[in-house]
């Protein structure tokens, strides 16, 4: 009994489609639907089945997922920005202006900037939700700690990004931030205890050897600072945050998925 098939159905059962999506066709049976999740490298981040409250927006607020999605938006828009932006004092500011005025669809910086603000907010709200549902309680203590590190990294990513336009907002935010580093106990040259790390008249912690210097690449804010923050913002911190994100997501599954009442 030959069933009449339309073009879409033929495609979905053809060799190409079935070679990409195992099982082929639209998943209809329970088994097929489970296999879709299991067979996809992206979807298998999820378990196959969930408690029913885990899909309720009222419970999850979707904030963790949105944080991750905004991170992806920021990665993509950030890569696009890197095609035009040059991290030097001479060009940085004008490149930012060109990105809005000379580049078609010049809203990439807007998306990147607003996305960064939004990610800080969604990460906070995610933390707030996890706290209010007591989801940090055993066995999820460690994943909560990882989450706090992710919050810190989010703030640091946003902070290093602040310098890159090299405008007034940028350098004064960084001037203040880096001078806080100067006051780090023992490690900054104006921090308590730094004067104790000395042999005779030779200080080990000076303006040219303290933690602030390592951060801004000089005794004053300048070319080296911009480059250091650029590398941290585009490569260093994203690399670290991705490792922690991987651990965070992995541990959600290993700690028993979304938290449920006992």
């Amino acid at each position: 009994m030959a069933e009449k098939k339309n073009l879409l159905q033929r495609l979905a059962e053809g060799q190409i489609w079935t070679s990409i999506f195992r099982g082929g066709g639209v998943p209809k049976s329970r088994r097929q639907r489970m296999m879709v999740v299991l067979n996809s490298v992206f979807l298998h981040l999820h378990p196959v089945r969930l408690p029913k409250h885990a899909v309720k927006l009222k419970f999850t607020w979707c904030m963790g997922g949105l944080s991750f999605f905004i991170f992806l938006i920021l990665t993509i828009s950030g890569i696009l920005l890197m095609f035009y932006y040059r991290p030097t004092i001479e060009y940085a500011y004008t490149d930012i202006i060109d990105l809005a005025e000379q580049v078609p669809f010049g809203i990439m910086r807007e998306i990147h900037r607003w996305g960064a603000h939004a990610m800080v907010i969604t990460v906070w709200l995610h933390m707030f939700r996890v706290f209010m549902t007591g989801s940090y309680k055993p066995p999820r203590e460690f994943n909560w700690a990882i989450g706090v590190v992710l919050l810190l990294l989010t703030l640091l990513l946003s902070f290093t990004g602040y310098l890159l336009p090299w405008d007034q907002l940028a350098i004064w935010a960084i001037a203040v931030g880096s001078n806080m580093a100067r006051a780090t106990p023992f490690l900054g040259h104006e921090g308590p205890g730094a004067a104790l790390l000395a042999i005779g008249d030779i200080n080990f912690v000076t303006v040219a050897s303290d933690v602030r210097f390592a951060l801004i690449g000089g005794r004053f804010l300048g070319e080296a600072t911009l480059l250091r923050f650029y590398v941290l913002h585009c490569i260093g911190l994203p690399f670290v945050i991705m490792i922690f994100m991987a651990v965070h997501f992995w541990r959600i599954r290993k700690d028993g998925g979304i938290s449920t009442p006992v």
Binding site: A175, V176, S178, N179, M180, R182, F213, A214, F220
Partner: protein, 190 residues
């Protein structure tokens, strides 16, 4: 005899030459627990040292040997150009220095707030420097009197060149709380 040798090998210090222990392993009796642990500790020690060395290297990498920074010394004209009782703003933009002349002489104040490094503004009407970042206030002398700044503004070395021009040298600082403002080069008598 094997008994004795074994004891001896087992108690060797980690610094003993490796062949002894290696030879031991060959004679059929195997590696004893003690010698095994001493090998393990040598191994771990070497691993930790190497890792530590590697991280030191990486840390040192962030401190280059040569810095390319703006010039730190400049000529600021002759002392007659400065009015007594005035704060002169002409070098603020280029070199970050206020030159102040009072009845006795001239001093060069750093424009870097001692709190977190913003540039305070000179408010002539109130005769004070006021920092916009966290509200620190300094008197004309540079002494802090309000807001969070922990200490007075720094003064730079100020001397007269042979041609009668003022030279300000920013590489040498004088801090009031260390009692350095009395230094002859912290202050130019006119």
């Amino acid at each position: 005899m094997p008994e004795a040798t074994e004891k001896k090998t087992a108690t060797i210090a980690p610094s003993s030459p490796p062949p002894a222990a290696l030879g031991k392993a060959d004679d059929g009796s195997g590696v004893t627990r003690r010698s095994f642990f001493s090998w393990i500790s040598i191994g771990w020690l070497a691993f930790v040292t190497a890792t530590g060395g590697f991280f030191t290297m990486m840390l040192r990498f962030f401190f280059p040997n040569v810095l390319f920074e703006p010039i730190q010394t400049f000529r600021a004209g002759s002392p007659d150009e400065y009015q007594a009782g005035e704060v002169d703003l002409r070098w603020k933009g280029k070199f970050g220095v206020w030159i102040v002349r009072d009845d006795e002489g001239i001093y060069a104040l750093s424009t870097v707030c001692t709190h977190l490094g913003c540039t305070p503004n000179w408010l002539a009407a109130e005769q004070k420097f006021k920092c916009p970042c966290h509200g620190s206030g300094f008197r004309k002398t540079g002494i802090n009197f309000e807001g969070p700044a922990p200490r007075p503004l720094e003064r730079y070395r100020i001397v007269l060149a042979d041609d009668g021009q003022i030279i300000v040298d920013k590489t040498k600082k004088y801090q009031q709380e260390k009692g350095q403002w009395g230094d002859p080069e912290a202050f130019l008598k006119v």
